[in-house]
Amino acid sequence: MAEQMTGAEMVIQALVDQEVEHIFGYPGGAVLPIYDAIFQNDKVEHILVRHEQGATHAAEGYARSTGKCGVVLVTSGPGATNAVTGLTDALLDSIPMVCITGQVPTPLIGSDAFQECDTVGITRNCTKHNYLVKSVEDLPRILHEAFYVATSGRPGPVVIDIPKDVQFALGNYANPNISSHPTYKPQMEGELDAIKIAVDMMLKAERPVFYTGGGVINSGDDATKSLREMAELTGFPVTSTLMGLGAYPADGEQWLGMLGMHGTYEANMAMHDCDLMICVGARFDDRITGRIDAFSPNSRKIHIDIDPSSINKNIVVDLPIVGDCGHVLEEMVRLWRAKTNAPRTEEIQPWLQQIDQWRAVKSLRYEKSDSVIKPQYAIERLYELTKDRDVYITTEVGQHQMWAAQHFHFNQPNRWMTSGGLGTMGYGLPASVGVQVAHRDALVIDIAGEASVQMTMQEMSTAVQYGLPIKIFILNNEYMGMVRQWQELLHGGRYSSSYSESLPDFVMMAQAFGAHGIMCDDPKELDDKIMEMIEIDKPVLFDCRVTKEENCLPMIPSGKAHHEMILPDTADIGNIIDEKGKVLV
């Protein structure tokens, strides 16, 4: 039944119909009618952030930790441009998001009106799709189509730009219940013939490895379940990208740890020496492949991906399977079962033994200290003291992010929120706000760097306003550590602008926000202080002073192959990367 209402009311009604409970936003002239409609509704809770970038990252955290779509509402002009970083972040990490932006009234578009910007123009290349709504008649369809596009297939951000006159206009609203689209038709089922061939290849493999990624998390719990089942059925070792952590449990026996630039030695060596690589929902990113022409030279490669353009983009594979990895894995399980019930653990014994030898290198080891807190130690303690709780981790970007990936272990999906593709400093704090909104009683920790966290620190105020007890655990090395490490590797240790000569007193800063501040610089006090952080029912800024010039290892230096990793005992890392490697990032 169509109902008459204003465009602004349609926005809220569509959110209700989409079962959206929370949106993150910031008001302004061009969205006042929508804010008025929010004021008069009691179904959708609006979380007022302090900066529109914060809204986008909060929505990302919310989405990644729930599997639902994150929703953002911002005004025209500066509201929209401030959202661009988060939209791009969501695009690169395949996060479902709908971002509603206000626009100047249609008759004024193109006249350089107050707070006008070409939002659809600016966001065209950083969204999966975007819309400018020119008439209220189109609004119901566009609102619902946006959710369909954002959440189906390979998820991503969608912008709906709504001019103010359209928000005031009266029109008929009915939920069109969109479950397909005339031109956009993601392929869910994988081709059966291809899956059969994949199973045959797997049955013959002698040195197999599962290389899994964010697509498994995108696909949802069924994919995680089937992946674990497939791993158990085959007995094959499993590694994952940064984006896929938690899909296969870190305490599983077949777990190799993360792969890639800062992945474990065993994961990268297994990738390099395998004879069969089964890539599930990962995109052969350059952090994974290292030198393309030396990438896993002797393997056959199967690639399961819902996005046909991910296939053969960086690495040409032998067997592409386009489809949702949940469906495809389920089918694989069925076909495998039809052939055998015994895992191939026996047949691949030499391979597993080889892997154990690589494991014995203990590539994540580091020198312990009684006097200073080692960053790796801090993460280890944080993990040990929180692992039995309902814990969600977000991160900023830098060394601390990699240490978190290496030393915090994830046994479940959707527990790890990090900016992988864009690498956005300032992601973690607002993301933790979003996560905590979705999981009020959980322990939500942002593992942060002192530089990154200052980029979106203002969202502490949001956390205080809504009583969200997020824990910001800052590994404070006073350096933009990741930048410093690269300067050591590539630029003769000339630390140009990577040291923060001035840092705020984070404890006082916490107090100024009305949050709780903790400082710790003594390894002997660390456990107690972490417990203090966990137990206090308030947002916390934890200033954990760690070794200043620690390097994040192991590492595949730029321009090198998987088997050329820098291990923790490699001396003189300043001489490893050649001229060709230097130009890479």
Binding site: R124, E191, V316
Partner: protein, 177 residues
């Protein structure tokens, strides 16, 4: 049927391909297509676009691009990812297709040159669409190579100006897109 893709790396050398893209004729669709080419560093040699099915709001975009086989396949897949894109066909890869271009060519000259210009125009089946005592404008349609050739012949005879529509193309045979 699934296709193994080893052959993609068969060649590092670039090929010229004509793609035809069926899109919903909605605002911004051309910007999406062009933006994709610039954002991903693909080449556009020629681009034509026009509405072809008015009732269904559909347009056809014909793009000529030059790339390696691997990049060509990315271009096609990336185009298909755009939401308003219905279908993309690589006409060059799919067998024979008809390719045409229209050019308007202004030539100025007198005496012998003028006679020669007209003689060549006739040979190339170029129509005179404007004439004055010391100039012609010709309209020529054909494969780009033919248009090219005609233009180069006009060069010494007083070529003033050329405008070209860019290439448009359709597959042979009874199958439609």
């Amino acid at each position: 049927m699934f296709k193994p893709s080893w052959d993609l790396e068969r060649s590092q050398s670039v090929e010229r391909h004509t793609l035809t893209v069926l899109v919903d004729n909605e605002p911004g669709v051309l910007a999406r297509v062009v933006g994709l080419f610039s954002a991903r560093g693909f080449n556009i040699d020629s681009l034509t676009v026009s509405e072809t099915e008015h009732d269904r709001h559909r347009s056809r975009i014909t793009i000529v691009t030059v790339a390696t086989p691997k990049v060509l396949s990315q271009i096609k897949l990336q185009l298909e990812r755009l939401i308003p894109v219905h279908r993309v066909h690589d006409l060059t890869a799919e067998g024979e297709s008809l390719e045409r271009e229209l050019a308007l060519i202004k030539v100025a000259g007198k005496g012998e040159n003028r006679v020669e210009t007209l003689r060549l125009a006739e040979a190339f089946r170029a129509n005179v669409v404007d004439a004055s005592i010391d100039s012609f404008v010709f309209e020529i349609t054909g494969r780009p190579s033919k248009v090219e050739q005609f233009i180069s012949l006009m060069q010494p005879l007083g070529l003033v100006e050329v405008v070209r529509t860019g290439l448009t193309a359709i597959s042979r045979g009874k199958e439609g897109m």
